[in-house]
């Protein structure tokens, strides 16, 4: 059995009087690659915030392996792309705590370049962050998280608002990182494009609805309990594909009306 690096034991979390997460128990192993899925407001981001330690559990206990290093990649929509900062400066930020010398040292510069090369961003260190493609921008923030040498990489909606090609690019990169030994937890709305490719999915809606491999978790019953809406699930090449029944009904009606 693989060692657990984070364990949630009956965790609940609230925003004031609003319950965001209820009695969540789960284990994240050292070699895990886990997708958290659920509708908006289901507690996905809250779960990540509790995991990261920026939000405290109102009940239950979160146990992290001693000395666990966490890397966090926020949603790109939350980034101020006009902030006057270069790619190298963004990557180097994770080593801010406890550092009094303002200038980047030669050693740090070399390490930053190594991380940028690892993520296919070599030679872009002096570019302003806005001067990059969507995929490169996401890679910069993954590079920043990796510069911290994390044991666990946490990503909030890494494919939100990106095109298909960038989504493929990010998924391949995450698979490479996982194969290099980094545990990954991500939240996503993207059931077909991202979640169904992962080895383990956790469906949440306040609490954990289902937890397991995609074919076991992505079923019409689980999805209806999670999203509160009927969905069909097809299987293609050993992977589940979710079809939104409402969209199907709408397209059927539109075709019927001749539009």
């Amino acid at each position: 059995m693989t060692e657990s690096i984070v364990r949630f034991g009956g965790v609940s979390a609230t925003y004031g009087r609003i319950l965001a997460l209820e009695n969540v128990s789960l284990d994240l192993p050292a070699n895990g690659f886990v997708g958290i899925v659920g509708p908006s407001g289901s507690g996905k981001t809250t779960l990540l915030r509790v995991l990261l330690g920026v939000m405290h559990a109102s009940q239950g206990k979160v146990t992290r392996k001693s000395g666990l290093r966490l890397g966090y990649v926020p949603q790109v929509e939350s980034v101020d792309w006009n902030f006057p900062v270069t790619v190298a400066e963004v990557v180097g930020m994770t080593r801010s705590a406890g550092r009094w010398w303002p200038r980047t040292t030669d050693t740090e510069r070399s390490e930053i370049e190594t991380v940028l090369c690892q993520l296919g961003l070599e030679g872009l260190g002096e570019r302003h962050i806005r001067e990059l493609s969507g995929g490169q921008q996401q890679r910069v923030f993954i590079a920043r998280a990796l510069f911290h040498k994390p044991d666990l990489l946490v990503l909030d909606e890494p494919t939100s608002g990106v095109d298909v090609s960038t989504r493929h690019e990010i998924l391949h990169l995450l698979v490479d990182l996982h194969e290099s030994g980094v545990a990954i937890v991500l939240s996503t709305h993207d059931l077909n494009g991202l979640a169904s490719h992962l080895p383990r999915i956790i469906c949440v809606n306040k609490g954990v609805i289902a937890d397991g491999p995609p074919l076991a978790v992505i079923t019409p019953e689980v999805l209806e309990r999670t999203y509160g809406a009927p969905m069909q699930v097809l299987e293609h090449g050993g992977m589940p594909i979710v079809v939104d029944q409402l969209e199907h009904t709408i397209s059927h009606r539109l075709r019927g009306s001749g539009q």
């Binding site: 006057p84 930020m93 705590a97």
Partner: protein, 281 residues
Amino acid sequence: MIAIDLLEPYKYEFFRNGLLVAVIAGALCGLLGVFVVLRGMSYIGHGLSHAVFGGAAASAVMKVNYFLGAGIWGIVSGVLIGRISRKRVIGADAAIGVVTTGSFAVGLMLLNRYGQAKRSIEAVLFGSVLGVQTADIVAVSAVAIGVLAIIVLGYRRLLYATFDPEVARISGVRVGAVEVLLMAMLSCTIIVTMRVIGTLLISALLVVPAATTRLMTNSFARMLTIAPVVGAVSSFVGMNLAYHWDTSASGTIIAVGVVAFAVVYAVGGIRSRSRIGHLHV
């Protein structure tokens, strides 16, 4: 001779003192203005300068040292604004409005009731750059050195907490402490410059040089270097023009800063114009 005319004001000690304080104040406001502009806090500079007025009035009435009274009042106001803003129920703009107008109103009432309201209010609102005392020079210099030291030593944390506070917190940066420190630096700056350039124009000096610099560079480090120079040069040119044109010193300083902004904006062309559209000013 034109050269002699230009040097004429330097014969007067009051002008030399005023110029020295104005130049240091311009550099100081320019430096801190980088954080004000990039955090979208321009109104905080404006609001805090009004809040400090309450502290100045209270310290005058209670016969407490001006710097001590206004300092404590300003820092408490800044921290209050920060705490109310974090609740996110009423938003930062409303929090600033409530705390600073309330503070200003208390100051006004205290002066009405116990002091020479009209004279004090005018001095605080418009400043008195030509009535600079040794204490002002010492205070502005001390705050400038302190702020510079804090920004150099805390550069990495200030940059991270300004750019991405949530992730900075996860990385071990004490973001709350950084915010309090920033508020304290802003309050101290406002207190020591208020008697020189006045509350109404402090917010402009906290915003205009930094906004001008933002049009000139895409680097945070270069902004921190250039903005104090823009602020200091605006103050130097403004003070000299004010003497020769017999205009308000503080008004002329800001007018020079705004002209510099307009020139950079015009020269910067299309690239700068696309950038200004996203500026938090």
